[in-house]
């Protein structure tokens, strides 16, 4: 009888430990996603300024600039709607459009030397990096969280306690972000 009680108590304590560990990780996942979110908002604020200041020089890249503006609007709409897959897809497109824009500015020496554009380009690079690193950190935490749920014996309790695996922040498979923008160096 006593042995049974002790075993039961040990099992209960063990489950409590698993539960607390998972709660901690779930909060970390939420926090890590917030970090990405902050950077995405920053990017929305940065784009209009950037487009305005490069518009004059990059007359022949109207379509690229258009794409950036459209992608920003689409991403903001998706963010407001709150569908995770939609957000990922639209943000991926925005990343791709911006990447193309950054690559194209390499063709404009005037632009690169422009004192008002330079800080903006640095800010853009910074924000893009921040998004990339925040995503990397988020994915690391999510992987840890998911693994913690899936290993034996946690997998017996995790679903029972109401945990489900979190989504990795991956760029959609068909996203153009995966392909490197081509830069035409021919004069």
């Amino acid at each position: 009888m006593i042995i049974l009680t002790i075993v039961l108590l040990a099992v209960v304590m063990w489950v409590v430990l698993i539960f607390n560990g998972l709660i901690k990780l779930r909060n970390q996942v939420a926090n890590a996603f917030k970090q990405i979110d902050v950077q995405l908002k920053r990017r929305y604020d940065l784009i209009p300024n950037l487009v305005n200041s490069v518009k004059g020089e990059m007359k022949f890249e109207q379509s690229t600039l258009e794409k950036v503006i459209q992608a920003r609007a689409a991403a903001m709409n998706a963010g407001a709607a709150g569908n995770m897959n939609e957000i990922l897809a639209k943000e991926g497109m925005l990343t791709q459009a911006l990447g193309k824009l950054i690559a194209l500015t390499e063709n404009y020496p005037n632009l690169k030397a422009n004192e008002s554009v330079k800080p903006l380009m640095e800010e853009l690079t910074h924000t893009e990096n921040q998004i990339g690193f925040a995503r990397q950190f988020y994915n690391d935490i999510v992987t840890k969280f998911n693994t913690e749920q899936q290993v034996f014996p946690n997998n017996m309790f995790a679903a029972m306690m109401g945990f489900s695996s979190a989504v990795l922040f991956e760029l959609p498979q068909d996203s153009a972000d995966r392909e490197v923008p081509k830069v035409d160096l021919a004069v």
Binding site: T125, H126, N129, Q130, A134, F137
Partner: protein, 353 residues
């Protein structure tokens, strides 16, 4: 070996070295007690019937182990001091100043530090600039919460953004792995051992004869028949201990340097893990290596916290025994090679996937 295995191996290694350090520390203190104060932890205390009506371990039966107490107190005191004042002292000694966001390059540096704090999930350290033309960088601070990262002006002006990112990632990993704490503590321990060995060496003369004269209080020689044999054994042990005390500063320095070199490999590895770009660190290290002049504004006390030895690359370039024992940093060639292997493995994994 991949990045994670390398981290695990380096951590194990560091714990081993730290363990040896502490044992070493105790041997000096306890040896002093044993030989000079005739304190023996093995001897049973004499019990006396006291006035309160019970048996009490007699105070007089064992001398107070001043040596051990003193050794531990000095070690603890020096460690505590360096923990509290370490970062401030380092920044003052290098004349570092806060980076200003209005300057273009310094703005970039601040941004890169922010990026690396995002990647590592730590609080953002403060960004400092050291007014020196040589290429170097260091991190300071005991907790990730109050850490600082400093780079020289020379580094800022000659590295591009990716290379700067790699260097900052290296320093960020020092913070993440709690290297600053370990380094500060090992430096303080090194100082404490040097001090103790000096003290123990100076106080040896008066008691030397009496402790070896075979008096009954010397442990190991208490049995009457083997008195003389015990005396010879004691003499050998004593000479060995004395030798250890004399060599203590040298050995502890070698240990501290061994820790330092292991941490450099670890910081290179986990820095590359943060940026996922080992080759940027390779090219940064190659630029730093090419700048052979010493970093004058960073003194040797801070050497173990820098990305490269501030004494210039003379010591690091040698790969012989002396370099292996006394350098704060592994030879640049070995570091670059390890990073290149990492980059090669990453490329291979991506190629498969």
């Amino acid at each position: 070996m991949n990045i994670y295995e390398q981290q695990a191996r380096n951590r194990r290694m560091t714990w081993g070295i730290m363990f040896v350090f502490v044992v070493f520390f105790l041997v000096i203190g306890m040896g002093f007690d044993f030989f000079y104060l005739r304190f023996s932890p093995l001897k049973a205390p004499a019990y006396k019937w006291n006035s309160l009506g019970y048996y009490e371990a007699s105070v007089a039966s064992q001398p107070v182990p001043y040596g051990t107490i003193f050794a531990l107190l000095i070690g603890l005191g020096m460690v505590a001091n360096s923990m509290v004042n370490g970062a401030k002292m380092v920044l003052r000694s290098t004349q570092a100043r806060l980076a200003v966001p209005t300057d273009e390059k310094e703005r970039q540096f601040i941004n890169v530090v922010a990026e690396m704090s995002t990647a590592s999930g730590l609080q953002r350290p403060q960004a400092y600039i050291v007014p020196d033309a040589d290429l170097n960088a260091f991190a300071a601070g005991i907790n990730p919460g109050n850490a600082v990262i400093a780079v020289t002006e020379g580094l800022l002006s000659s590295l591009n953004r990716e290379e700067l990112q790699a260097v900052v990632a290296h320093e960020m990993s020092h913070i993440k792995n709690y290297d600053m704490r370990l380094m500060t503590v090992s430096a303080a321990l090194m100082g404490a051992i040097a001090l103790l060995s000096d003290l123990a060496g100076r106080t040896m003369r008066p008691r030397y004869g009496s402790s070896l004269s075979g008096s009954s209080s010397v442990p190991g020689s208490s049995s009457g028949g083997r008195k003389s044999g015990g005396g010879v054994l004691m003499l050998v042990v004593f000479v060995l201990w004395l030798l250890l005390v004399v060599l203590a500063p040298l050995i502890s320095r070698m240990l501290a340097m061994a820790i330092s070199r292991e941490r450099e490999y670890l910081a290179d590895a986990s820095g590359a893990e943060l940026t996922r770009n080992p080759l940027a660190l390779v090219s940064a290290l190659e630029k730093i290596r090419a700048a052979v002049t010493p970093t004058y504004s960073i003194n040797n006390g801070v050497a173990h916290m820098c990305i490269t030895d501030p004494r210039g690359s003379l010591i690091e370039e040698k790969m012989g025994l002396a370099a292996d024992l006394f350098a704060t940093h592994p030879p640049m060639q070995k570091r670059i090679l390890a990073l290149k292997v990492m980059a090669y493995q990453n490329a291979r994994v991506e190629g498969r996937g």
